[in-house]
Structures are given as C-alpha cells and as structure tokens.
C-alpha cells in the first residue's frame, strides 16, 4: 500500500534536489559583486518605497473567507465523484441541492458587491 506512493516520493526528491541544487550551483558558480541596489528587496523591478509590513485592506480578508467556503464546497465533490456512477440520479440530485444552496450564497455575495474591487 505504501509503495503506491513511491511516485510521490520520487517527485519530492526531484523537487527538493532541483531547489537545493539550483541554490548550491548559483552560489558556487555565480560571481558575487554585491551593491546597494542589489541588496534591495526585489519588488518586480520597482524601487521599494515603504515597509512591506503594513496593514492590508479588509477586502483581502473577505476574498480569503469566500475562498475557504467554496474550497470546502469543492472538497465534497471529490468523494462524490468517486461514486457518482453508483449513486445514479440520486447522486446528481443531492449534489444539485448542495451546490444550489451555495449558489444562493454566491448570488448574495455578487448582489452585495463583495466581489467588486474598489
């Protein structure tokens, strides 16, 4: 049973190997000529103006909250998908009720303008 996860282990080893290898190779092979501009935090090429440690808008929080809720919704679709053939029409109906209820929530969010970004 555990050997079924061997591909994941191989994947993890390759990912870690690549990440560590890239760092080591860059440190070993690359020239190091530090300057003040290079020591600045990288911000997509723009010169940073202020500290990154400042308060964020509450809009991010709403978005994260809505993400969790619809993430929880989607997690139920995975087990449902594994037995949808056995459940037949019954399964379609029950998941339709489930998604329909949450669709009401989505409509509410939409109508309230919580998806708008201003």
């Amino acid at each position: 049973m555990l050997s079924d996860y061997a591909p994941i282990l191989v994947f993890l080893v390759v990912v870690l190997g690549f990440a560590v290898g890239a760092q080591v190779a860059s440190n070993a092979l690359g020239p190091r000529r530090p300057s003040a501009a290079k020591e600045l935090p990288y911000e997509s090429g723009i010169v940073p103006r202020e500290s990154a440690r400042r308060r964020f808008s509450v809009s991010f929080y709403v978005t994260a909250m809505l993400f969790i809720i619809f993430d929880v919704e989607s997690i139920f679709l995975f087990p449902w998908a594994t037995i949808v053939r056995q459940l037949k029409i019954f399964g379609i109906v029950e998941i339709a009720i489930f998604i329909g209820t949450l669709l009401v929530g989505l409509l509410y969010v939409w109508r309230k303008g919580a998806l708008r970004w201003d």
């Binding site: 049973m1 555990l2 996860y5 990154a52 440690r53 400042r54 308060r55 964020f56 509450v58 809009s59 991010f60 929080y61 709403v62 994260a64 909250m65 809505l66 993400f67 969790i68 809720i69 993430d71 929880v72 919704e73 989607s74 997690i75 139920f76 995975f78 087990p79 449902w80 594994t82 037995i83 056995q86 459940l87 037949k88 019954f90 399964g91 029950e94 009720i97 489930f98 998604i99 209820t101 949450l102 009401v104 929530g105 989505l106 509410y108 969010v109 309230k112 303008g113 919580a114």
Partner: protein, 192 residues
C-alpha cells in the same frame, strides 16, 4: 513503530514548537503549514486518504491563506517577547496530562475495534444503493483490507452520500450562513 510515522510525528512536534516560539507571526504561520502537512502525512499512513486531501486542500491551502491575511490585517510587526508567565506552566501541565491520559487509554485498549464488525458485508451494500441491510452505526470500525478493497475514498463517500445525507446537506446551509456572515461583518457602511 513505522519509521515514517516517527519522522512525521517528530517533524510535526518540532514545527508546532516553531509555531509557539517564533517571534515573527508570519514565521509561526509558516511553521503551522509544516505541522499541518506532517499531520496529513500521518492521516495518509493511517490509511485515511480523504482526510489527507482535506487536510492539504482546506487547512494548508485555504485556512492558512486566511491566517496569513489576518496577520497582514492585524499586526504585521514582530510580537514582543512575553516574559515568563504562569499560564505557560499551566499549559505545559495540561499538555502533559492529556498526553499521559491518551497513552494510558490507548494502552488499556480504549480504541477502535481493530477486528471490524460485519464491515466486509456492509461495505458492499452501503457503497452502492443496491438492496440489502445497511446498519452503518454498527460498522464504524472498518478493517483496513476490506476498506482498501472497496476503495477508501469510495467508502467515505458511500457513507456520506447515503447514510449521512442530511448532515451533508446541512453542511451547505452552514456554508451559506458563513458566506452571508463574512460579507455582512466586513461590509463598508454603505448599503449597495
């Protein structure tokens, strides 16, 4: 004990210490991601693949995003290091007491019935909607082999979408309430 279990438990314990001891709240959050990932590995080793997926997708994904946003929202600066506090002692004693209790209980055999009870027959009748007696309340202990033969996630789904259908549908109402609550609590005065 399995080597993987020990490694996962040790990493979970170390990273959860990191959650408590980090001075930067954002590092606490990152340590919590490691803790959650290690607990998910434990779920996988316990043969609970669905819980593994839930742990990764919901907790390491969505909940951690929310935590990071809360940190960004409230106190981006480093936390002051608290002095020695009597509450730490109380907490330590509580953790030790619970740990000892769990080990004593497990040592005395207070655990799930490892033999399983009629589960082999019922797995078939409960996962499909075919006729046949289905008494899931007596089959909470699934033997590993039978569950794997029927498909682990399928077994969970078979219970969730037949026996526990009403709680499942109520979950959608709960999520609906959460949606409305989230939008209402963060509204910005003006009614749109």
């Amino acid at each position: 004990m399995n080597v993987l279990v020990v490694v996962a438990m040790a990493l979970a314990a170390i990273s959860s210490l990191g959650v408590v001891l980090s001075r930067q709240t954002i590092y606490s959050a990152l340590s919590l991601v490691v803790t959650i990932a290690m607990i998910s590995v434990l779920f996988l080793l316990l043969n609970a693949q669905f819980l593994f997926a839930v742990q990764i997708i919901i907790y390491a994904g969505a909940v951690m995003v929310l935590f990071v946003f809360i940190i960004a929202l409230l106190s981006p600066d480093a936390e002051d290091r608290p002095g020695r506090d009597w509450r730490a002692v109380v907490g330590l004693i509580a953790v030790a007491a619970v740990t000892i209790l769990v080990f004593v209980a497990a040592g005395n055999g207070v655990t799930y019935n490892s033999k399983g009870f009629r589960a082999t027959q019922l797995l078939g009748s409960c996962t499909s909607l075919n006729a046949g007696p289905c008494d899931p309340y007596r089959t909470f202990s699934y033997p590993v082999d039978a569950t794997n033969a029927a498909g682990n996630v399928q077994t969970v789904a078979g219970q969730l979408f037949t026996t526990f259908l009403l709680p499942f549908e109520i979950t959608s109402l709960l999520l609906l309430v959460a949606v409305i609550g989230a939008v209402y609590l963060t509204r910005r005065g003006v009614e749109r």
